[in-house]
Amino acid sequence: MSLDFSTGDPRFAVDRPALIARLSVVLPADALLTVEEDLRPYECDGLTAYRCLPSLVALPENEAQVRAILRICHELRVPVVPRGTATGLSGGATPHPDAVVVSMARLKKILRVDPFSRTAVVQPGVRNLAVSEAAAPYGLYYAPDPSSQIACTIGGNVAENSGGVHCLKYGLTVHNVLRVRGLTIDGESVEFGSAALDAAGYDLLALINGSEGLLTLLTEVTVRLTPKPPLAQVVIASFADVRRAGEAVARIIAAGIIPAGLEMMDKKAIHAVEPYVKAGYNLDAEAILLCESDGTPEEVAEEIVRVVEVLDNSGASEIRVSQSEVERLRFWAGRKAAFPAVGRVTPDYLCMDGTIPRKRLADMLEAIEALSRKYALRCANVFHAGDGNLHPLIMYDANQAGELERAVAFGAEILELSVRFGGTITGEHGVGLEKIDLMAEQFASGEIAAFHRLKAAFDEDGLLNPGKGVPTLARCREYTLARAGTAPVTFVAPKS
């Protein structure tokens, strides 16, 4: 199935040969892909259900080339889709048929690691984990750690305001980025934030975090580095039923404990990862909780005692504490590989990303179980439980007619429920293409209109990453009518 969202978008009348001729002047031959054979592998990101052949792909290797591409595209009114390493799960980097996909993967220099100010200045294509590796000799690391950290880029992280298992204590990307440099669609340099803790005027830096490639193309990011704690240990608790596990999460936080990470996996997720990672998870458990403690040995020892006590009182059937760094990493490895490992038990999955108040975890799990029966699709659950961020993985088979549509509808119900429970439709993966219709579930049309004005302040012609993040008002109206039962629901769904 592929995506057709170009219809009804007459803003872009691209003269492709002219565009190629212009871009060829500013890019080396191996940095411009023009034929279908080369373009296809760029048709999707980590959300493979949504695919679209781009007009062109450009692979710049420095800021000057990025600027030149933007100027040409701006002048010729050609849309631009920024791309990191396309691990995104909401279709943020999915191409647009008229667009030039600008891959930032070649801009991957670590420009500076400063152990004194505890900062690093990196190009946007640097992988998240590479920052921590470069900081390791100084006893520092970059705290936000999406499970995809081995592969995703800092540029993508900023664009999605990504989170990770350690964000409960150390914050999301937005809390760990000090300054960004970027280019607007007309090729002008912009800079937000500063090396200092606060800057004068509006905090536009926070706006850029999570802007999904709609406002600027990021070309340089200054991140905060965090000292590695002297010790970290993780507790694994097994539960014979999910409700108890959900309640244990609420109790840990209620006890005033802020763990370095608090994650939950249900039985289906455990069974998918254990054969690959051999992390030692309890295969009989209905759910497991991973709760990390870090700090000085005394702090860790004290916190672990408290955590174990709460878990014990919450009815955990088995509790283990990592006894070495190797063991701790192995316990986490299973969680970090969880999404793709689910690929071992199903050909395809949709990874959802809603948030809910922690106290509703158990209700949500039960609701998902019921939906799973309703749609006759399996669903494995992996949660950043500590911050109430859910990642239900809805399993389907794209080669079976109708399964994707069922999976999409299943996912939409989960997100609608998230909003009803007092949560949001995205915790960290962004809106992208996937959740654009659901924005109307979360925001009133006045708010959406404000988003559009903001976008226009940066990009009047709507050339940067069109069709993502914020729905048109017309689309919102359609969606609202459909939910009220007066019109059929049409998600941007992948069509046959």
Partner: protein, 415 residues
């Protein structure tokens, strides 16, 4: 991943296998992060996820050109991506299927065909390769630098142990290039095993294991190589020889695949499978003799101890055979200090004939690997495969050796 295989392949065994592999890929991109060519080139098409996509297009009947061929050619077959993939995608099998189809559809230039012919015919034959290297060495001073660095140094082996009446005997593969380029490797292995009460010997007539031709898609000659090796070894294996020891991880990975490669040959399938099962890397053999080895190490002095060693684990050891930490453990037990090297999972660029077919990338990977290995100024550089050893050697002045030579020196002294 959604797939729609084309009619020409859909209902064949190969098609079904390829489809299952494609469907296991969830397009997460983790593998790109540990792919040497993606790290160098930063183009989706030069990473495993993109190559999988290129092969998918091919299998779905879309037209392919030399573009796809080029990106598949650049793949080192290092299988680092498979070690990384949480979804269990058998990338290399898919690559073999994809390359086979591309080979049928996209003709190669005359020059490319000539190089391949030379590699498939000359290198695996010791009687051509050894004299060529000797001539090359004589002429090295007159060759352009780029060519000269490809001609290896003259290395002499220390003597093999005197034949002993050990009850335990094992075969070691002489190999096609190893006996010429690094003859001390098998000699050192033989001396070490001799101390452990195991007699090691090379069976005459075995020749090349077939890996070279296999990787150049010379399917039939590659299978003939294997049959010849089996014929040379079989009588010994019937005659009480305990197993086959591999001192080159590249050959080891291939021999361990014999059972699969000859599964459709009724005359050889069983023998091939048995040989594959009896084959172990020399590190595994030593690790299983740990007790005796520790005793020997205690008895011998500690003169070499404390030397700092950088070990490059070949892809055929860490990714193909999934043997990790064993060599490092043995060296540490022998008193050497292993220095950590950055990006230890990355290929050094040797990759069979890669240094000849993709000289630019091979050189970059080699220089990166050498920089990583020498970053903390170790005393010795070692690896576990003749190809990596000579390739790395061609890029620097510090000798690169086989790790077994270090164990040999600890047990038997430097002669």
């Amino acid at each position: 991943m959604e797939t729609h295989l084309a009619d020409f392949i859909k209902d064949t065994a190969e098609g079904r296998e390829a489809d299952a592999i494609l469907r296991a890929c969830v397009h997460c991109g983790f593998c790109n992060a540990t792919c040497p060519t993606f790290q160098l080139l930063g183009d989706e098409l030069d990473g495993p996820r993109g190559r999988i996509y290129l092969i998918k297009q091919l299998l779905e009947g879309r037209p392919v050109s030399e573009k796809t061929q080029c990106h598949l050619d650049r793949c080192l077959s290092c299988r680092s991506c498979e070690t990384t993939c949480p979804s269990g995608v058998n990338y290399y099998r898919l690559l073999v299927i994809g390359r086979g189809l591309v080979e049928q559809r996209v003709p190669r230039s005359l020059a490319a065909r000539a190089t391949r012919l030379l590699l498939t015919e000359a290198v695996p034959r010791r009687w051509i390769f050894a004299p060529s290297v000797r001539v090359g060495r004589l002429l090295r001073a007159c060759l352009p630098a780029k060519l000269a660095e490809k001609v290896p140094d003259i290395v002499t082996a220390k003597p093999w142990p005197r034949p002993a009446a050990h009850r335990r005997r094992m075969i070691v593969l002489a190999g096609c290039v190893q006996s010429t380029l690094t003859p001390n490797t098998n000699a050192a292995a033989a001396r070490v095993l001799d101390r452990l009460g195991i007699a090691l010997f090379e069976a005459p007539g075995a020749g090349c294991c077939g890996a070279m031709r296999h990787h150049l898609h010379a399917k039939a000659p590659a299978l003939d190589d294997i049959r010849r090796v089996i014929d040379a070894w079989w009588p010994h294996l019937e005659n009480g020889v305990e197993g086959v020891v591999m001192t080159a991880s590249g050959c080891g990975a291939h021999v361990r695949d014999y059972g699969v490669l000859l599964r459709h040959d009724p005359a050889y399938a069983e023998k091939a499978a048995r040989i594959a099962a009896m084959t172990r890397d020399v590190s595994e053999v030593l690790a299983s003799e740990q007790e005796a080895l520790s005793r020997l190490l205690r008895e011998s002095g500690t003169d070499r101890a404390g030397r700092r060693v950088a070990f490059h684990s070949p892809c055929t050891l860490q990714h193909w055979q999934q043997i990790r930490g064993v060599v490092e453990g043995l060296l540490a037990a022998a008193g050497y200090r292993i220095v950590p090297i950055a990006d230890a999972h990355l290929c050094c660029g040797s990759a069979g004939s890669y240094s000849i077919s993709q000289p630019l990338l091979a050189r970059q990977l080699r220089d990166n690997k050498l920089a990583a290995m020498t970053a903390s100024a170790p005393d010795v550089l070692v690896t576990a495969n003749v190809g990596c050893q000579t390739h790395l050697q061609s890029g620097g002045t510090t000798p690169v050796r086989h790790w077994i030579e270090l164990i040999d020196e600890r047990l038997n002294g430097v002669c």
